[in-house]
Every structure is written in C-alpha cells, then in structure tokens.
C-alpha cells in the first residue's frame, strides 16, 4: 500500500502539475513550428486536423528570407543587442565598482538612485525620449536605440555587479595595495578577474533584454533598413489586414533562436542574474 500510495502522491504532487506547466509553456512554440511548416492550403483549411503537419514545406522560410528584409532585421537586432550590452557592461562596472568597494560621501544616495532608475519602466519616459531623439536628428538610425537601450541596461548591470564586487574579500585588495598597486591596477588585476561569472550573468541578461525591447524600436525605427526583428515583423509582415501567418511564425521562431542559443549555453548564469536582485542571504 505504501508504495502505491507514494506513487499516486508523486503523480499528483509532481508529474501531473509538471506536465501541465510544460505543456502550457511549450505549446505556443510547438504551434509556431507547426504553422511555419504548413503550406497555405493546409493552414487555411478547417477540415484538416491542425495539430500535425501533413505536407511539410519550407516555403514560408524561403519567402521570409528572400522576399522580406528579415535577414537585415536579424543583423540589426544582433548589432544593437551586442553593442548596447557592451556599453552597459562597461558603464555598469564603472558605477558598481566604487559603489560596492569604496567609502565616500554620497555613495548611499547614488546607489539608491541607480536602483530606482532600474525600476523606472519605459512607458514613463518614451514620449519625452521620442522628442529628444527627434531633435538630435537620430530618428531611423541604429544609434538611437544603441544610445537608449543602455538607459535600462546600465542600472541593471550595475545592480547585479555590485553584488559580485562586494563578495570579493577586502584582504585581497589590501594586499595588492600594500604591494604598491594603484586603485585602478587593483581593480583590473585583482577584483575584476574574480568577477567573471558576474559579467557573464549581466551580459546574458542584458542581451536578452535588448533583444526583447520593442517600444523605442517601434518609435525610432520606421524604415525597413534599420528595423529590428520585433518591429519588422509587426510593421511589415502584417500588411494592412492581411496576415501572412506562415511567414510570421517562421519569423517568430527564427527571431527567437539567437536568444535561445545564448541562453542554452549559459542557463545557470542567466538564472543567477534573474534571481540576484531578490534572493539574497
């Protein structure tokens, strides 16, 4: 009885709920894949069982890659995400290092301001920002988003890195100082190399945030050549009331792949970044 009881228990406490959550999480991706592989005749026929592909075709992928600027958008998205992540990491270090390891008047206030900035959501800023970018003459340039994405990413990177910087024992730093190293040398040769995991976490997280950004890209980038994937898909794969669902799903799937690849290599670091703010000893 005990064995059966615990088996039933495990079924209800683990396998059934886990199955439910997995199905819920994954079905939309399955549906993207299935849709992107169906010929139109199958997509728009209500009498065919829709859950599987009967006559798979790569037609939508070919059309997407040859008839739209999708590859260009992918390139733009990647460039913007990589550059704004790099800027954010450098600025993040420059903010976090003194805040975490130095004592100086005003440190508490700056740390508060940085954390608060991280929590200010974009919709509070996008209207004035649109006007500012406009006046700077940066509309329809990748510079506009490369400049504005770090406004969200720098405070995040700084916040995350502060935790890592604080964890390095002060003795290491003092030893280097006694040996005559300047503060800058101590930082580059002693502290930063020990915080490599922090950089990976912050970098991965910033990269996914940059890939996900939509509002600024939507406002600043209105020409095909400079668009990112999310804006390109919304603005150009939906033409008027006509939806090219096959192509849209192919675009959604392909557009998710860079993030998914980066993520799959660094899941642990990503999770560390995700939970850093809220789970602290």
């Amino acid at each position: 009885m005990g064995a059966t009881g615990s088996l039933t228990r495990r079924m209800f406490q683990l396998w059934l709920p886990l199955g439910f959550f997995l199905l819920l999480a994954l079905f939309p991706f399955y549906w993207m894949a299935v849709t992107s592989l169906k010929p139109n005749a199958e997509l728009y026929n209500r009498h065919i069982m829709p859950l599987i592909v009967h006559h798979p075709t790569l037609r939508h992928y070919v059309d997407l890659l040859t008839e739209t600027s999708f590859l260009r958008w992918m390139w733009n998205t990647t460039v913007v995400a990589v550059v704004s992540t790099a800027i954010s990491l450098v600025f993040g270090v420059m903010l976090a290092y003194p805040l975490a390891r130095m004592r100086f008047p005003g440190a508490g206030l700056i740390a508060f301001a940085v954390a608060a900035t991280y929590l200010v959501p974009q919709p509070l800023l996008f209207i004035p920002m649109a006007d500012i970018i406009n006046r700077l003459g940066l509309g329809n340039t990748l510079t506009s988003v490369i400049l504005t994405y770090p406004t969200m990413l720098v405070p995040f990177c700084a916040w995350l890195l502060m935790g890592y910087f604080k964890s390095i024992p002060r003795e290491l730093e003092e030893a280097a100082r006694i040996d005559g190293a300047s503060r800058l040398q101590t930082m580059f040769k002693v502290v930063l190399p020990l915080c490599a995991p922090g950089f990976i976490s912050a970098g991965i997280f910033a990269f996914t945030l940059a890939q996900n950004e939509f509002l600024y890209a939507l406002i600043f980038l209105t020409e095909t050549d400079v668009r990112t994937v999310p804006v390109g898909a919304i603005a150009e794969l939906i033409r008027g009331d006509v939806f090219y669902w096959g192509q849209l799903m192919a675009a959604a799937l392909l557009g998710s792949i860079p993030v998914a690849i980066v993520y799959s290599f660094f899941v642990e670091h990503y999770v560390a970044g995700l939970t850093a703010g809220s789970v602290k000893a």
Binding site: Y97, R103, F104, L124, I132, R183, V231, F243, A252, V259
Partner: protein, 309 residues
C-alpha cells in the same frame, strides 16, 4: 594603513605630475572619476527625459510644433475623459488578475520544481523559455492561436466538446481582457517560479525536519515554515512584477492595440495612441505620468526594501 598615508595633504608636493596619480588614488576622487561618465549618461538620458516629460505634460504640444504652457490643463482633460477612467480600470484589473495568477501559479510551479526528479536542470531551462523569448514574437504566436477563423484554442474546445462554436477571443471586450491577462501570466510565471525556487532552496532542511518531528503535516510545513521564510522573496518578486505589469505595453499593443472599443487599453498603450498616433505629446505625457504616483511609491518602497542589509 597605506590608505591612511595617502590622505596626507598634498601641499608642497614635488610637482603637479607627481602629485596627480596620488590625488587620483584617493578613495573619493577615484570613485567620482570612475562614476562620472555613466552618471552623466544616466542623467542625460533618464533624468533629463523624466523632467522633460513632466514639463511636456504641462504643455499643449502638437508634434513638430512649439508648445504652449497650459498648466494642469492636460490633467484636467484626462479627468474629464471617460476613456481615461476606463483605462485606469482596465490597468487595475489587468495588474491585479495577472499578478495573482502569476503569484499562485509561480508558487505552485516552484514547489513542483523543488522536488527531486530526473533532468531537473533541463526542465527548468525549458520552463523559462516563455520568459526569455522576445515578447512580441511569442505574442504574435498567441494572436494566431486566438485567430477569429483558425484559432487552435477554439479547435481544441470544439474537438473536446467543450464548446459548439469558438468565441471571438479578441473581438469581445471581456474575453480580450481575459486573453491579455492569460498571456501576460504565461510569460511572467516562469520568472516567479524560478525566483521563488531559488528562495525555497535557501530554506534550511533541518527546519523541515524539526517541524516534522514536532508532528507537522505537509500543509502545516507549508503554512508555518515555507511561507514565512519565503515572504521576503515573494514580496520583492511581487512588487517587481506589479511595476512592470502595471506599465505593460508590448503585449497589448501587439495583440489588441487597446481594442475592442478601448476594452484593453492600458495607461502605456493609451498614452502611446494619444502621443504617437494622435500627435498630442503633452496630453500623452500627462496620461503616462498618471502612472507616476502609484509606480513611484512602489519603486521607492522596493528600492529601500532591497537595500536593507
């Protein structure tokens, strides 16, 4: 000791170039020199737009024209605009429902994930996918799943005999609201689950053992051990999630653009439609700033709470 020595006054130094490195090595000088560039950047592109937004909200400012100062005119217009109040109601319903669903579902998923089972790390990675994939792209997939003619959700409902004809999910006011709540939950739930899971793993096992020896059942364990110890994390995640659900834009813009008949407009999408589609920057800024009292309170509270040692 070395640090102390460097703080000696620099007077009568042998020369400027010899003294400069020592001056730069002082803690405060080094700190401010290091932070200057990023602080300037954030002041220019967060601080300035924030203040400028407040200024804009006090102006009548058609796009590409000079603004005219109107004081609280825009806010008075907001207060007299029935759509504004509908938007406020929508945002509250959306935020409350989605946050509750994510909290309960996320806690449930975290408890499930906190057990031992094979391929746990892989499962965790897969469950996070909805959260990492760009929102716009997954929302397009949901849009297709809720398509008026070819919705797979409706097909499944009919197939399993749960409905005779599928409803028009995005065409009906209540169903459209329910749809955006469900999709927001779908995307945000993994964030709750993974963070709460990390919180669960910090609870020492001997607490459970001690409570079990004292005769606590699994419900009592949850109620008197898990929940109280998880409270700080739960609080942070929840406030964090409220801030970003309350100010959500992407999902609604893509899925319904605020329709049908403003039934799903949130503050952010309504401000966007006034400022970007209607070209009234001042009025749009006032709608966006209507979020500030509530958001500002949460932001300050959360920042102070997280900084507690």
């Amino acid at each position: 000791m070395a640090a102390r020595a460097e703080r000696l006054p620099e007077r009568a130094s042998p020369g400027f170039f010899a003294a400069l490195p020592r001056w730069l090595d002082r803690e405060a000088v080094f700190s401010w020199a290091m932070m200057a560039a990023p602080l300037l950047f954030l002041t220019a592109l967060v601080g300035y737009p924030f203040v400028y937004g407040i200024w804009l909200s006090l102006e009548d400012r058609p796009v590409a024209h000079a603004g005219v100062f109107v004081g609280f005119g825009n806010f008075i217009d907001d207060a007299e605009d029935p759509v504004f109040w509908q938007v406020a109601r929508n945002t509250i319903i959306y935020t409350t429902s989605a946050t509750l669903l994510k909290m309960v579902g996320g806690l449930g998923l975290a408890l499930v994930m906190n057990q031992h089972f094979p391929l746990k790390n892989l499962v965790r990675a897969v469950l996070l996918l909805p959260f990492i994939v760009p929102t716009v792209l997954s929302t397009i997939a949901w849009m297709w799943m809720l398509d008026p003619s070819f919705s797979i959700v409706n097909w499944l409902l009919i197939y399993f005999g749960l409905a005779k004809t599928g409803p028009s999910w995005l065409g009906n006011a209540d169903l459209a609201m329910a749809s955006i709540i469900v999709i927001n939950t779908w995307r945000g739930l993994p964030f709750y689950a993974i963070t709460l899971l990390a919180g669960l793993q910090t609870i020492p096992a001997d607490l459970y053992e001690a409570a079990t020896i004292d005769g606590a059942g699994s419900l009592a364990l949850f109620r008197f051990v898990t929940l109280p110890l998880l409270k700080p994390v739960l609080l942070i995640v929840t406030i964090f999630s409220i801030i970003f659900t309350f100010s959500d834009f992407q999902l609604v813009y893509v899925l319904t653009a605020g329709g049908p008949a403003n039934a799903t407009h949130l503050f952010a999408t309504y401000a966007f439609s006034i400022a970007m589609n209607g070209g009234e920057l001042g009025r749009g800024a006032s709608v966006a700033l209507a979020m500030l009292p509530f958001l500002g309170l949460l932001i300050v509270a959360l920042t102070l709470y997280m900084r507690k040692p």
